[in-house]
Amino acid sequence: MRTYFLAVYTLWQREVVRFFRQKSRVIGAVAPPLVFWFLIGSGLDSSFHVAPSSGGLDYFRFFFPGTVLLIVLFTSIFSTISIIEDRREGFLQSVLVAPIPRSSLVLGDTLGGTTIAMLQGAAFMLLSPAAGIHFTPYSFALTVLFLFLTSFSLTALGFILAWQLDSVQGFHAIMNLLLMPMWLLSGALFPVEGSPLWLHRMMQVNPLTYGIDGLRHGFYMTGTQHSLRLFPLSDCLAAVCLFGAATFVGALWVSGRR
């Protein structure tokens, strides 16, 4: 048991340390969403009209949780990309022949990516006063909980994808064809209500919709924008936990295959 967690700890630590030694990764995960937030926010702010009950919600505030999720998506997915190259000529080779269960590798790597994604998301959240978002201790804790759950699920999803791929190019294709659409259809960029029915249905089965909704529960708790939250908090929590469990089990399963 002790050796199991020693392995998890060391793999987690390695992920976090190597991340901070790569400045381009630190900047690369935060800067693009920040620019998106500013540019898209500036462009759409004047034409953005949600339900009147939202009480003068501006687009910067609306798009804020979506930007956090985008940072989490970029960071957690890209933290798993190293698996692809590491397997052929890097650190992963020695992990694969070490006397540890595969599950400790999956857990260590996933927690490492989760930590990095959470830290990046939290760094962006420092800007929340600028978007007119204020926290109570409870709403902050709730936001961090959803930050953790979405980071964990997306890192595990990245692990599943990276484990099976032989090239980084393939990973970028999946990023553009699967992950970005998932984010676009999560209600991050535009509200679910008011969209065509087919889109509405797709958004309802998208796990990230519940991630965004959960984050909004935290972010808007002290505001008046209740109407933007689609689902009860318990539903969001259940859906995101399920997503995390499913991706983690998936990661465990693929890791045993090669």
């Binding site: 002790r2 050796t3 020693l6 392995a7 700890y9 060391t10 793999l11 630590q13 390695r14 340390v17 190597r18 030694r21 790569q22 052929r88 000529e89 890097g90 650190f91 992963l92 080779q93 020695s94 992990v95 694969l96 022949v97 070490a98 006397p99 540890i100």
Partner: protein
């Protein structure tokens, strides 16, 4: 007699491919390695030696056939085997963003070592491999030789009984190569570590206790280098002629002198006893048709040619 440290019987391996079973990389290999040996797999690219290395290092799981390492059946006791072997990869398994010490520490943790014991072993190995002074530097600044040394240090932390190395001399200059070999011999003689390696270098293979010649996934021959060379009768004569004339010359040599001359890479190879007496007769027999003749004792390359009828360096697809 104790059980060999590695016992392979009837091992085959096919790389998985999308269209059913892939190319067979290994075809029913039977082999054993004794404890305390320095044993090598010698073969050209595509011979299967890297596949065999990956299976023995537990990186790939064997499909058909049986492998016992340290007396344990591999599929059933994989973790126990892993605890007792050290694996040195061709492309070192180091994290370039971490320092030498950090790389060692992570490795130690993966083998259940920590605290004072780990620190002590790290210090000893950094010292042994002459890396102490730069232990706090990131690996990305290290030369190929230093990286290889660190990779070996990593693999010795848990005091393995057997060390597996994949092409350990690749990318090393002659000085670094000599140092590596004196280290390996030292480990073998003083600590009794069994050493198993793959190589495509003849001069490296010459230093080993025994070698297994591999070609196209098959085991061609296993023996000590000297014994292998002895199987070739006497000398090897290499004859070069103009490109167009080579094959007709080969036919004429065979007709006149017998033996089994082989044409490889533009050179005619002929194994023969008393080569020094043969050469004058050869030159007399084909005036003007021979450009150069050389005489030598058989090398491992000649052994390879003898058993496979092919040149060692022929292009044979992927490694």
């Amino acid at each position: 007699m104790p059980e060999p440290i590695v016992l392979i019987s009837n091992l085959s391996y096919a790389y998985p491919s999308s269209s059913g079973p892939g190319r067979l990389a290994l075809k029913s290999i039977d082999l054993s390695v004794e404890k305390g040996e320095i044993f090598g797999f010698l073969g050209p690219n595509g011979s299967g030696k890297t596949t065999l290395f990956r299976i023995l290092s537990t990186y790939f799981l064997p499909e058909a056939g049986q492998i016992r390492v340290l007396g344990l059946e591999m599929r059933r006791h994989i973790q126990e085997i892993r605890r007792n072997i050290g694996v040195v990869f061709q492309y070192p398994s180091l994290d370039l963003k971490l320092t030498a010490s950090e790389n060692l520490r992570h490795q130690g943790h993966l083998y259940g070592l920590y605290g004072g014991l780990l620190t002590q072993r790290m210090a000893r190995l950094l010292d042994l491999l002459e890396l102490s002074e730069r232990s706090g530097e990131r690996i990305e600044n290290f030369s190929g030789g230093m990286r290889r040394r660190l990779e070996i240090a990593k693999c010795l932390l848990h005091r393995p009984q057997m060390l597996l190395l994949d092409e350990p001399s690749t990318g090393l200059d002659p000085g670094a190569r000599r140092n590596l070999w004196s280290l390996l011999k030292n480990l073998n003689q003083n600590e009794g570590v069994t050493i198993l390696l793959t190589t495509h270098l003849m001069e490296e293979a010459d230093q080993l206790d025994r070698i297994a010649l591999l070609n196209h996934g098959q085991l061609v021959k296993v023996d000590a280098p000297a014994a292998l060379k002895k199987t070739i009768g006497g000398d090897v004569v290499r004859i070069s002629a103009s490109e167009a004339a080579s094959s007709s010359l080969l036919t004429d040599i065979r007709a006149k002198f017998g033996g089994e001359p082989v044409l490889l890479d533009g050179l005619i190879h002929l194994e023969i006893k008393n080569g020094h007496q043969f050469i004058p007769q050869l030159v007399e027999a084909f005036p003007g048709r021979i450009e150069a003749v050389s005489l030598g004792k058989p090398t491992l390359e000649d052994v390879f040619i003898h058993y496979t009828g092919q040149a060692f360096w022929e292009k044979t697809g992927q490694a």
